[in-house]
């Protein structure tokens, strides 16, 4: 009995040492390769704050590889105006533009900066926020992003949030972000402060079969008790119109500040008429948009993009037609919307080419001034 107890205690001590070593290793790794202070317990929520109810980046925040400047945007420290002859470029968008940590190859704004820097003096600021809709971009611009006084704003709007339960509205982004992410106030100290457990939770995945069954059950529960017609079997035109109306409002506000606007169409991995290989991506996206069927999810961005092209043509608004060049080509994406390294490269080439004319015009404008 005694020897068994001793064995158990020894095993327990070994487990403690393993966990201690793991925590030490995780912190040393983060410090060496990502510059995270050894004793810090960073959380993703450290990146964000809000002003007048509008969510934005916290000035000088850092989390993993993300660092924000003095204005809470990703990019260099900025003054009131860009340097002589330099052009300040601001990106607005969702997680496709913000970048996803688990995807190798970087995100496209950084590549665009590298491409444009060959020929121009450019300050690139990334104002994208994961989960940001066009509606929340309006509030974000009004309350915060305009302070950057960009010369050019590139808008890459995510489309699928317009298929959610509620219509997106230009509410304070903090409200929208909370409802989207479900983030509650973090306790002062929690298991999530452990870097090792954070990594472990990221690394552990339930087998695909179980994930699919759980999601299927959840989706079926969402439909229960809903009125007839609640489920979008086909893309709802009122949401397409709402999307474009919000884009129009955003473009108006940005142009009113004197900045130029370049608009992008939203590229996705699936075809407008879903193929067999598209099912997995569409099924996964329904976690965020249970109100839309897979065929509605697939067709909606194509309808929105058609409407954006028409709008851009009518308003003589420069357009980067990412959707036409990249959509439905699976190698460009790692999931429904996020770019693979190949896709990032292609997207950045497209955006840089699309911005080039505006860059030249802006430099000339600066010269005249």
């Amino acid at each position: 009995m005694y020897s068994k107890l001793v064995t158990l205690i020894r095993l327990g001590l070994i487990c403690v040492l393993v966990v201690a070593g793991a925590e030490l290793g995780a912190r040393a790794d983060d410090w060496t390769f990502e510059g995270v202070p050894f004793l810090a317990s960073p959380r993703e929520s450290d990146l964000w704050t809000s002003t007048n109810g509008v969510r934005h980046g916290r000035p000088n925040a850092q989390f993993r590889k993300k660092t924000f400047n003095n204005l809470g945007l990703e990019g260099p420290e900025i003054g009131a105006h860009p340097g002589n002859g330099c052009v300040r470029l601001l990106f607005l968008g969702g997680s496709e533009t913000f970048g996803v940590a688990q995807i190798q190859g970087g995100h496209y704004p950084e590549h665009v900066r590298a491409l444009l820097s060959d020929k121009h003096c450019v300050e690139v600021l990334n104002g994208a926020i994961p989960g940001m809709t066009v509606a929340s971009m309006i509030a974000f611009w009004r309350e915060h992003a305009h302070l950057a006084q960009p010369d050019i704003v590139f808008i890459y709007p995510s489309t699928h949030f317009y298929l959610s339960e509620q219509e997106p509205r230009p509410l304070p982004a903090a409200t929208e972000a909370k409802s989207q992410t479900g983030a509650a106030d973090q306790p002062a100290l929690s298991l999530s402060d452990s870097r090792f457990f954070g990594r472990l939770l990221d690394a552990i995945e339930l087998p695909q079969v179980i994930q699919v069954r759980r999601q299927q059950a959840w989706l079926e529960a969402q439909v229960v008790g809903k009125p007839a017609g609640w489920l979008y079997e086909s893309p709802p035109h009122e949401r397409v119109q709402l999307f474009v109306a919000h884009v129009q409002e955003l473009v108006r506000e940005i142009r009113a500040s004197g900045a130029r606007v370049v608009l992008g169409t939203h590229a996705i991995r699936v075809a407008g008429q879903p193929r067999a290989e598209d099912h997995e991506d569409l099924f996964a996206m329904r976690t965020f948009t249970p109100r839309a069927t897979e065929s509605a999810l697939a067709a909606f961005p194509y309808l929105v993009n058609d409407a954006l092209r028409e709008y851009a043509s009518r308003e003589s608004l420069p357009l980067v037609d990412a959707a036409r060049e990249l959509s439905s080509r699976r190698e460009n994406f790692v999931d429904l919307v996020h770019f693979s390294p190949v896709g990032t490269e292609r997207m950045s080439q497209l955006v840089a080419a699309g911005l080039e004319k505006q860059m030249v015009a802006q430099v000339q404008t600066h010269a005249v001034q």
């Binding site: 070994i14 393993v18 925590e23 290793g25 790794d29 060496t32 390769f33 940590a101 990221d202 690394a203």
Partner: protein, 464 residues
Amino acid sequence: MLFNSLVFLFLFLPVTYCVFWLLKTTPQRHVWLMLTGYVFYGYWDPRFCLLMAFTTLVSYFAGLGFLKYSDPRARKLLLIIPITTDLMLLGFFKYAGFTARSLNDAFQALGMPWSVPVVDVILPIGISFYTFHTISYIVDAYRRDITPTRSFFEFGAYVSLFSQLVAGPIVRFRQIEKDLENLATANRWALLPIGLSFFIFGLVEKVIIADSLAHFVDPWLADYQSLSTGGAWLAMLGYTMQLYFDFCGYSSMAVGLGLMFGLRIPQNFNSPYRSRDPSEFWRRWHISLSTCMRDYIYKPLGGNRDGNAMMYRNLMLTMLIGGLWHGASWNFILWGAYHGALLVAYRLSANAWDALPKLVAGTLMFVLVVIGWVLFRAVDLDMAMSLYSKMFIPTAGSIPETAGTFAVVIAIATLWSTAGPNVFEFHERFKPTAKQLAFTAIAGGIALALITGVRPSPFLYFQF
């Protein structure tokens, strides 16, 4: 699945280990090892299992044939047929595309209108290794160095043993024959601590050192054209260390896993960067491969029995084949030729070379090895030539801002690889003391943290 993956560490290994030791008899354990080997291999691609099963069956029946027939002609057939089968399979999966492309390039260069259809086939992982296992079994049985086993599951367990299946060490049947026969009497509690210790040591080598180096080496060499002379040398020094710790780490883990199951897998690396001449290097680097090449290629060619000229020829041929074994590419053939030339050069100048001060000889050998690794790492000859030109012709270029940290990591790795103990030296007087257990537990924890991080890196030798 990789040894440094969560599914291996927390699912496959615990289940395999627990069931193995719950089984009581040797035949039961053979069956289990064989089954788990196929599960491990099938995790990559279940289709690969069919190929391995076919190779196993052919060699097994050849072994039975050796037991039955003593007639020299029959034995010769039993030698030739399975080896030819194995080599044809290896040739098809590994070399068909390369051969066709090389022939087409040659026809084009000579202005001939011919072309050979290029068939691109998926290379089954580990085929070079398990083919070597079966060929060595056949040859040793033919030479009467071993008695072939009548137990299909014992032979199947030997071929499919998951610990060395996909990246070695190349274990000859005679090296673990006794352990395989005595599985029922293996002492679990004596073997577990040392097996775990070997495994964690290997995990540290792979995950902490090799993968940390990969973090720098891969992006630097991805942009090799912008490197300066200093940058090129630093990148190749980093790769030199990365390759060693990656492969050595894997071998250490394989040894540890073998021990946990009562099998003593031989040492594969003996601090090769301490070598002072090419001959010593090949006694220390990938020992299982170099001894196989010696016993199954060099000696049958004549070895050093027929005068110096033939010896040099045999050395070159052996190393050329060794290079080709690593990969279907001119880079690897040139790398093999390079090391063959080094061996010949050493034989020609042994007196002068051996008279060099140890530090000078050691440094010279190390630099020569680094130069050879350029061919090993480059994706094609253009990249290799470009790197060589940067390394030997002063070239301006960029030095990435991570150079300082990179240099520190290289320095630590170099110090460990040359002056520090290797895994066998570390365990020479192994006793599971409290201090050693604590150190191992902490090191294991650190490795676990890095495994769960966002910088995965496969084992470099898997591509062979």
